[in-house]
Symmetry: C2
Subunit: 491 residues, 2 copies
């Protein structure tokens, strides 16, 4: 094993730390010494050598999986401290560490070792180094699967624990939450429980209506300021199509939105409209109650801001165009530093790795989405699996397996699962594919009516609504119970 | 999918069928119409195309997995009958079907569909056809793993169920019992429970003392008739070594044992002594209360027979030699049809596929065994992992991974497992690596003091001891409860 150790101090605002103490309200737990705030978000960057292919004996090559490590919260006197283990998802693991402040705050409280494990094929954890995504080597994508990833995590925990019996709690948000839940299901001997925040484990074929995501997004926009918001957005699609029919109209769009590249073709128009949709989704997901920079720098409750610019019903084309442009800038140029809008790169400035994710969509993460313009603010779009398959084969040489995840992780049948907290914010479009009802007494479902995408996993903030404070308090109580039970069992 | 369907009638003695009815003693269950005994052990032979590698997207090749199928017990009026699913192990699946009469008897009683699924790389389920074991293609062995096998079973169940909600119960004996237990642990949405008969899931590194197997075998021989049995066997090893030191002695052995090939080298001697050990193990495993032909044709309680021939303490070399020879014939020539003893092929006449198993021993099934002559009837043999590795690399190009199974299936930590019956016969050497204490209330442990290797899984026989009748009755009650619960949940 080759372990490169670099100490990095990540400076991160901890403005809302006082809110942590309020978790204790009614929990009966004590507020422990937090060992100094300056220790938050500090970690060593380490690596563990893991097999590229855990499941066959033909490929013996290995690669270095990156993880972040901090044991400064753990008590020296405790030989078996808890490990709070974040199951990394689609992006650089440092980004998740910085956007999951709750894990750090809880670790301080529970005196736990903090580990953020990077997901293979993301960040710096590349199974084939710089050749990982070499398009002349499509076979390099073969091991980009959930099962291989969970095995990476299992090996890392095995390595970290050694001979020590340590209670490990898995944490994850979004796809990371799915991984945390699945990890507990498949490796219950490795983790005593999992917090799966905003984990849409049912956003798969035949489990959830494909239009739920767009419906929830629409509902979030409809109720953010007033209903004119979604009416305006709903009308805008036809307007863009109409304008794109003439050179003058194309120029009107380019001017209104400060496009870097004006729309020249129908392909460009599609990209532009897809971009707008993506922005609306991201706004809903990151509709946090304070300024944030998770997917892009945004003000507090950005959807409300967007809808403020769309509060008047615009019958006039030019007015509607300008209103949409102003609204969009809440997302695209909140810092007023962007010179022109690059609609061809939807994830510019974000740390989410859509490149990697698009590959996962082509193997196992086949999530059907669709929309109907009659009951959403979006264009009508049927779910077209065939088109997905064709594109996947063309782009990556991969044939998607839409039922892989369901066959392996049980679909709606979670009867035998235990010690998983599924938390979902009702403002989050992904909540539609989440677990909103507990299948048994050992699974906890926590609903956060005022929450966007895994708000509970973020660091405390004075602007946090009561429902997320309550959710975090409940989560802490449940985790405390798991840990207590673990120590009781081994003693 | 290519499904070859052949109807085969397997004629099998059902002499002990009346004992089935005695299962109902005290269970409160009714004896149902058994639909005619002649339907037992009849099956269609079918095949399902499954991926060679379930876990990567690089290898898209498939092969036909064989399975046996009988739906004649199921009621036509029940659209969702139970499936009794045997998770095949190291051998031709028909052999297991014929030696697991209890599954058929229970299926008749529960009106269940019977499925015996063959394990990949055994019988006719060859991932690379006739080239599967081609020694110029060592990469063909890469997919010979537990995880790939469980995925085969999951795909088969998915296929068999289709859209129907059917309660599936997994059954397995020995390694098949390990698979049944692991299948329930990892795919609890696929099977409502598992009967793991004589499943030594803890016969792995650091989980169980490596000498337990030899100690139990010794104990079985010691108590079968009288203690002279093990004293004689214990002394015999040195005698063989002494005799093999001279040509006259070698001839003496060859004559006494009717060897096909006389012992010519020290390598031959090792093979002969290893053969004897293997025979003692097999005698203990198949120490059934009636004539059987599971590992070889044998009389009832063969260990008792063996020890009857060894009841007198033999101080004289020739006497001891002849006594051992007579004893051995209980196993090697019970049918009196064997012309000479081929000690170089220990599994001659058995359907257990030691060729395949030896490969599994070289990837994941690394089971440490050792013996000490001071407290067993065997030669002192330390566990030598390095030697195992060297041989595995030399013979198959495989490097064993001794901790794979523990990391994946939890080792001694079964806290989160549910709905598994671990049954073990105390006369069975494998019981030492079995689960003899329930880790939680949802796991059932059944001890059969008078049972050899998965006796409970065999068909009923008038000679069955009370403890196995009791075990089967308990198993039936538990299975009935699982099935009842399933139907309650879906209605």
């Amino acid at each position: 094993m080759f372990a490169k150790v670099i100490s990095i101090f990540v400076l991160f605002a901890l403005s809302g730390f006082s809110a942590l103490l309020s978790w204790n309200k009614g929990t009966g737990a004590e507020a422990h010494d937090l060992n100094g705030l300056e220790r938050h978000f500090q970690y060593e960057i380490k690596q563990l050598s893991v097999p590229v292919d855990h499941f066959s004996f033909s490929n013996n090559s290995t690669f270095n999986l990156r993880y972040l490590y901090n044991d400064t919260f753990a008590e020296k006197s405790n030989p078996q401290p808890p490990i709070f283990f974040y199951t990394g998802n689609e992006g650089d693991i440092e980004w998740f560490a910085q956007n999951s402040g709750m894990v750090w705050e809880q670790a301080a409280r529970f005196k736990a070792v903090v580990v953020f494990a990077e997901h293979r094929y993301y960040g710096k954890s590349m199974p084939f180094g710089s050749n990982t995504f070499n398009c002349t080597k499509p076979e390099h994508l073969a091991y980009f699967t959930v099962e291989q990833t969970l095995e990476d995590f299992a090996m890392l925990i095995t390595f970290l624990r050694g001979d020590r019996q340590m209670p490990v709690v898995a944490f994850g948000g979004s796809y990371g939450g799915m991984l945390a839940a699945w990890f507990r299901m498949k490796y219950p001997h490795m983790v005593i429980g999992a917090l799966a925040a905003s984990a849409p484990i049912w956003q798969f074929t035949d489990l959830t209506p494909c239009d739920i995501f767009n419906k929830i997004t629409t509902s979030v926009f409809q109720t953010a300021y007033n209903a004119n918001c979604t009416t305006n957005i709903g009308r805008s699609w036809k307007l863009f199509e109409k304008l794109a029919g003439s050179d003058a109209g194309k120029k009107q769009i380019a001017d209104a939105f400060h496009l870097c590249d004006p729309i020249k073709s129908s392909d460009d128009l599609t990209k532009f409209l897809d971009y707008l949709e993506e922005v609306y989704y991201n706004l809903a997901m990151a509709n946090y109650p304070y300024n944030s920079s998770f997917l892009a720098p945004m003000p507090a409750y950005p959807v409300r801001q967007v809808c403020f610019y769309l509060k008047d019903l615009h019958e006039n084309d030019a007015d509607l165009l300008n209103a949409i442009s102003s609204a969009l800038a809440v997302y695209t140029n909140y810092t007023a530093s962007v010179k022109c809008l690059d609609y061809k790169d939807v994830n510019k400035g974000s740390s989410a790795d859509s490149f990697g994710w698009n590959i996962q969509v082509c193997n196992q993460m086949v999530m059907p989405f669709c929309a109907n313009s009659s009951d959403t603010m979006f264009r009508t779009k049927p779910w077209n699996f065939k088109e997905t398959v064709d594109n996947c084969i063309k782009n990556y040489g991969l044939t998607p397996r839409p039922y892989d995840i369901i066959m392996r992780y049980g679909g709606k049948n979670l009867n035998a699962a235990s010690n998983i907290i599924f938390s979902n914010g009702l403002l989050d479009p992904w909540s539609g594919g989440g677990v909103l009802q507990a299948p048994n007494d050992l699974i906890q479902v926590i609903i956060i009516p005022e929450g966007a995408h895994h708000l509970d996993l973020r660091e405390s903030n004075p602007a946090d609504p009561p429902s997320v404070l309550d959710a975090r308090a409940k989560e802490a109580i449940i985790i405390a119970r798991w840990i207590e039970q673990f120590y009781l069992n081994i003693h």
